[in-house]
């Protein structure tokens, strides 16, 4: 098979012809005086693996519960497949949910847990049995079919919960912090399993998580939320490399934020004056910036090179003093202080096993980065 890059990348959100599976139209949800969701509009497309990401209390779980039918919007409408689902109760929706606590029925075996939803549909016995064994195979649980939930491990329970919610072949599967209870190794492994299963079944997945790494790994698109609003919706790479606000830049990964005033430079570039006497930062804005406007320059630590000498292939240089070094094995993070007092962190990959890492505390070094390494943000 040719290993060429596929021409049709999965990106239905860029196709104006594509109809969304889920449409939030000006949805507001209030609990008493507390506004959990604030006039939110969002489209999610078929076969997407969509992540709702945000700190606890940002409204992501409320959105999911509205999709499942456990909450109804105070204002606005939610359309699934073009149908307003407001008046439809949870048991009449072609939507299934995988609960954070898994919510496995403790009095039923693994098999019966998976068959539970199918039996409600009055499907005939043999097709239920077929579907259950198919689900057991998909989640590799054949050996545990006759066990009760308390007789299997946490990872296996997580797979039972997934199998149970997928058994009815829902249009939409909701996953509420599905991997929160698993340890790190198992979580990473399960993330790939989830992606694999999502691809095999072609179901649309919406996952709620506060773990940005998890959202980045599994999702086709990520919605970063805060205080009931969606701040940015984009692909993981888009969110990481072109955040639209300081909040998003700061929420996803590590970032250095340098605030200053912008002044136009040649070729559409700007110079950001951030401290008295310091060389201004040359940066490429994504939107036009007025002269003298306050901007925030966001640059990821790995985009900054630390060396004894300035790197003249890059546009920006600054002197820095090493305050702290964190050696993490694969990478080292340097915490540096610029002459202006600004704190900056930079990351270098430890590509060689025995290379001398000869920077040490209080060393005076040079930081270099290109004019496109950071993002210019206006609040």
């Amino acid at each position: 098979m040719a290993q060429s890059k596929p021409q049709n990348v999965f990106a239905p959100w860029n196709d104006p012809q594509e109809k969304p599976l889920i449409r939030f139209q000006n949805v507001t949800k209030r609990f008493g005086t507390f506004t959990a969701i604030d006039n939110l509009t969002l489209d999610i497309y078929r076969r997407e693996f969509f992540a709702l990401l945000g700190p606890s209390g940002c409204g992501k779980t409320t959105m999911m519960r509205m999709l499942a039918g456990f909450e109804t919007p105070t204002e606005g409408t939610i359309l699934i497949d073009g149908v307003d689902v407001g008046p439809i109760p949870p048991n009449k929706r072609a939507v299934n949910m995988m609960f954070q606590s898994y919510a496995l029925f403790p009095h039923l075996t693994v098999e019966d847990n998976i068959a539970f939803g199918l039996r409600r549909d009055k499907t005939d016995r043999s097709s239920i049995a077929d579907r259950v064994s198919e689900m057991l195979r998909l989640t590799r649980l054949e050996k545990f079919a006759k066990r009760k939930p308390h007789q299997i491990s946490g990872g296996q329970r997580q797979r039972v919960a997934l199998a149970r919610s997928l058994a009815k072949a829902p249009k939409l599967l909701l996953l509420d912090e599905p991997l929160g209870a698993l340890d790190r190794k198992l979580r990473e492994q399960t993330q790939f399993e989830l992606m694999d299963i999502q691809e095999k079944t072609g179901t649309t997945f919406v996952i709620v998580t506060h773990d940005q790494e998890e959202a980045m790994t599994v999702a086709s698109r990520v919605a970063v939320m805060d205080h009931g609003k969606v701040i940015q919706v984009d692909t993981p790479a888009g969110i990481y490399e072109t955040p639209n606000s300081v909040y998003v830049a700061d929420f996803i990964g590590d970032v250095n934020i340098i605030r200053g005033k912008a002044h136009p430079a040649d070729g559409g570039l700007i110079r950001i004056h951030y401290a008295e006497g310091a060389e201004p930062i040359l940066a490429t804005p994504t939107q036009p910036v007025a002269a003298g406007q306050d901007v925030a320059f966001a640059i990821r630590p790995e985009k900054i090179v630390v060396a004894w000498e300035p790197d003249h292939s890059r546009a920006n240089h600054a002197r820095g003093k090493i305050i702290d070094i964190a050696y993490l094995g694969n990478i080292s993070t340097y915490h540096l202080e610029l002459p202006s007092g600004q704190k900056v962190s930079a990351q270098m990959t430890n590509a060689r096993r025995l290379a001398r890492r000869d920077f040490t505390w209080d060393d005076e070094v040079w930081l270099s980065w290109s004019d496109t390494a950071g993002v210019v943000l206006q609040d």
């Binding site: 499942a68 949870p90 048991n91 939507v95 609960f99 919510a103 939803g117 308390h150 946490g154 919610s165």
Partner: protein
């Protein structure tokens, strides 16, 4: 910590238990008394138990008591479970505090008052007093005990289990029948047993609610004792002590086992 039984602890334990159980012990011993005189020991004999079996009046009363206990505890369990479910699940509806207070009020209400008010009600609506009225009266006061037992179990019940059932296509009633009820069954059973034993030994309320045609065992015993204690009564009381003891012990074992299993599952869950 020193866990040994000191002489002080041993004494207080003995005194306490003697206080609680000596009267019953004496009653049980004298139920095997050969003599017709209750206070004079004349050798061992189970003959009063035989006499008891030939006493039609006592047997009738025993049958009424069992019927009443079975019916009223079943009714009380259904109503009490429903009340507990609403109290724990329905969230903060207006009047919730009042409602829960009113469910638990019969727990502290003097039985005489409960009995009297029921009697007035039965007279007011022209209900002939008999087995049916005793069942109603016992249901009324046993229901709050059941709802206390069941609601304490429902408090620790993971709500998302019901949501999962709804999500998988259950109607709210199916979710209750297929998921909630099987899981809280131990609490419901111990509530039923509690209601059963309460009904079995109730004298005060039953004496208000009973009619001439229907006498429960405690009423029978009470009226018989007024004419003088007979060894037959001792034998009967011994049997009742036995039934109540078995009921209470079973109820506590059922709920204890359920709690232990739940804890074990949690521990295993954490370990897994």
């Amino acid at each position: 910590m020193n866990r040994r039984l000191t002489w002080f602890n041993a004494t207080s334990l003995t005194l306490g238990f003697a206080f609680l159980y000596l009267p019953m012990l004496i009653l049980i011993i004298f139920s095997f008394n050969e003599s017709k005189l209750v206070t004079v020991w004349a050798g061992f004999s189970p003959k009063w138990y035989g006499e008891l079996l030939r006493n039609e009046q006592f047997l009738d009363a025993a049958w009424v008591t069992l019927k009443v206990a079975a019916l009223s505890s079943t009714l009380a369990t259904v109503l009490g479970t429903m009340a507990a479910y609403v109290l724990v699940r329905a969230g903060r509806f207006p009047g919730r505090t009042l409602f829960s207070g009113m469910i638990y009020a019969p727990l502290v209400m003097p039985e005489v008052i409960t009995g009297l008010s029921l009697l007035l009600l039965f007279i007011a609506i022209g209900l002939d007093r008999g087995v049916f009225t005793i069942v109603l009266a016992h249901t009324t006061f046993a229901m709050c005990y059941v709802s206390v037992v069941v609601s304490s179990r429902l408090m620790t019940f993971d709500r998302s289990l019901e949501e999962a059932a709804l999500d998988l296509g259950c109607t709210p009633f199916e979710a209750f029948r297929l998921v909630t009820l099987p899981i809280i069954t131990p609490a419901v059973i111990s509530g039923w047993l509690l209601a059963f034993t309460l009904s079995l030994d109730d004298l005060v309320i039953a004496s208000f609610a009973s009619g001439p045609s229907s006498t429960t065992l405690p009423i029978k015993i009470f009226s018989a004792v007024r004419l003088g204690v007979s060894p037959e009564i001792n034998a009967l009381s011994t049997i009742m002590i036995g039934i109540v003891a078995v009921g209470v012990i079973t109820a506590s074992l059922v709920s204890k086992r359920a709690i232990q299993r739940q804890r074990r599952e949690e521990v295993e869950g954490v370990r897994a």
